[in-house]
């Protein structure tokens, strides 16, 4: 996935000379995860540059750059370090088009490596997507596979609106067969059924898609066919795909790493109540991180949704 993201940035930088890449350590080092590796050497330090260590400024300055006609792709080094930028993102980036009565768009992408499962220290494993999804004016994207990551990053950079782009850290080193076809950028806002099944839909995004697929394989061995729906984009949410899948299966479980209360899963469940209640055979359940701070890495496996927890929820909805 790191290579796919790197290629997406390379293609966007190459095709549009107004595209900029900025953030902490994104230049010579190529980012702490190497997503921007080689880009400064290829495109120069005017278009790919390190900033001082100040996240609010990275977001605020990106807005100013956008006003000057640039398309900044800013990196927040880790999920847990993105919070100083929230004021700029919520107060200005999300609202600028609205405030300007549509005269001024701010095509900014803020990339945030997110979520856990990598054995990291405190502040390096958080899932803050609900804060952004709750903020009107932002698009929120969270790919699960390398090819999706490539295509959606390209689409996000091309998008006229600000996009918060969540990269699942634990999938950074995942591999996928296929072509990175720059000509067919995937549109933002389209979910995808990754595995068809008739008994229950498991809805996930980011790293929890792979885990849901693993759970589906385990369920199949026990004779339960799970449909796995990868949301890919949280805002705008693909309401049609969500309802269509659950209308087929009549049951649903939502999986994410973020804590339960007011997590994005609550939004998904509410949408299903509104759009597919008549088809539901059982309550929709959520399998999520717990309502605790992200725990120390030595016990994070007990926090993250596991295959066993997903299957337990599936059992409860299928046996309801």
């Amino acid at each position: 996935m790191v290579k796919a993201l790197n290629e997406a940035l390379r293609r966007s930088l190459s095709e549009d000379d107004r595209t900029l890449v900025l953030g902490e350590d994104v230049g010579k080092l190529g980012g702490v995860f190497r997503v921007t590796e080689g880009l400064q050497a290829e495109f120069g330090d005017k278009r790919v540059f390190d900033t001082p260590l100040a996240e609010a400024a990275i977001a605020g300055v990106s807005l100013g750059l956008a006003l000057a006609g640039w398309r900044p792709v800013a990196e927040m080094q880790f999920d847990g370090f993105s919070y100083p930028a929230l004021d700029q993102v919520i107060s200005h980036v999300a609202k600028y088009r609205y405030r300007s009565r549509g005269r001024q768009t701010v095509p900014i992408v803020i990339r945030i490596p997110f979520a856990g499962g990598i054995g990291a220290a405190e502040h390096h494993s958080e899932s803050p997507e609900a804060y952004y999804a709750h903020t009107a004016g932002l698009k929120v994207v969270a790919p699960s596979t390398p090819i999706d990551a490539h295509d959606l990053l390209r689409a996000s950079i091309a998008d006229p609106d600000p996009v918060i782009f969540f990269e699942p850290k634990s999938r950074y080193w995942s591999k996928e067969e296929g072509d990175l076809d720059g000509a067919s950028a995937l549109p933002i806002g389209k979910a995808r059924v990754l595995r068809e099944g008739s008994d229950c839909t498991v809805i996930a995004y980011g790293a929890m898609v792979a885990r849901s697929l693993a759970a589906a394989r385990a369920a199949a061995a026990r004779g339960t066919e799970l449909e796995v729906l990868d949301l890919r984009t949280l805002v705008p949410l693909d309401l049609d795909a969500l309802a269509a899948s659950v209308r087929r299966t009549g049951r649903a479980v939502v999986v994410h790493e973020a804590p339960l209360t007011a997590g994005f899963g609550a939004e998904v469940v509410a949408r299903l109540m509104e759009d597919a209640f008549d088809c539901l055979e059982a309550p929709v359940l959520r399998v999520t991180g717990y309502d605790t701070p992200y725990p120390p890495a030595t016990i994070e496996s007990h926090y993250l949704p596991s295959i066993e927890r997903i299957l337990d929820a599936v059992d409860r909805v299928t046996n309801y």
Binding site: P52, G60, V61, R99, S100, G137, L237
Partner: protein, 370 residues
Amino acid sequence: MTPAEPSEEPQDALLRVLPSATAGEVDLEALGLKEEDLRELYRLMALTRRADLEATALQRQGELAVYPPLIGQEAAQVGSAFALRESDWIFPSYRELGAALVRGVDLVEYLHFYRATWHGGTYDAREHRFGYVSVPVGSQILHAVGYAMGARLDGDPIVALTYFGDGATSEGDFHEGCNFAAVFRAPVIFFCQNNQWAISVPVSAQTVAPIWKKAEAYGFPGVCVDGNDVLAVHLATREAAARAREDGTPTLIEAVTYRLGPHSTADDASRYQPGEEVESWKARDPLVRYRAWLEGSGLVDQAFVDEVEGEAKSFAAEMRAGVIGSGPRPVEEMFRWVFEDIPPHLARQRDEALRFAAEAEDPEAGIRRA
């Protein structure tokens, strides 16, 4: 131009141009101003004073939701905005009606922010190179820095000036903005109107080191200027703009002035501003002081002053009529500019809001639907 005089203010090195005696000499050439510019500065300050008073009155009469008066800060705003080129950008906070006026922003469109018609007012920021009102204190500073960085990448020789107050210098955005501007050599003028009060907190409780001196730590010039001396403000800004254009050197200007009104019309400044302090600053009213100097120097006569006063009156009356004559925007606009294309979930919400809005217009509609 005179060197710094012994000052009444605690700051040292206060830049002043206007001599305290009205008959003093001022070197116009050194200021880069022609006599007609001197009269224009007065005209702009007088229009600002009148428009600002009118806006306060409009709020008292219920025509504006809120308004933050700038009375006392006319020299700081007009002198600085007038020193810029048309191609330069201004990123204001929320008390810069005077700078907006200099920029030719329609003040009715500007006041639509305070009439709660629309959050950015209704003017086009790009047309006037005057950003939208920014309420989160100090947050606009970073936009100026980013814009200046972007312009420098393009080789566009513009300057971005951002206004903020003494309170904003406590915000992280101010410090991050100064640091970024220095590191990237972004052509920014950080223009602090130190009006002594951040709502009820005096500058002495806000920061210990003089504001202008903070520039040194970031590695660029800091200037302290008498903010009630329009010529000194103009000079300081002109020099800062020249430095910025030359090689991207930012400048922090602290304009020492005073907020003669409340923080906003929702505030009662008499609860915290000492009466004698207010009176001492009223005696240094920037408009009165400048007019006295212009008159004493023979640059304007009574007829000119009267003419400007007449223009200011009709200008304010026109502004008033424009504000009062405007209604709210259609409900549909609440949804129109959230994204470039409205996504399905938002379209649903828009349709619901419009349905209820239509029913509110026509109570029968709801009954019929039921």
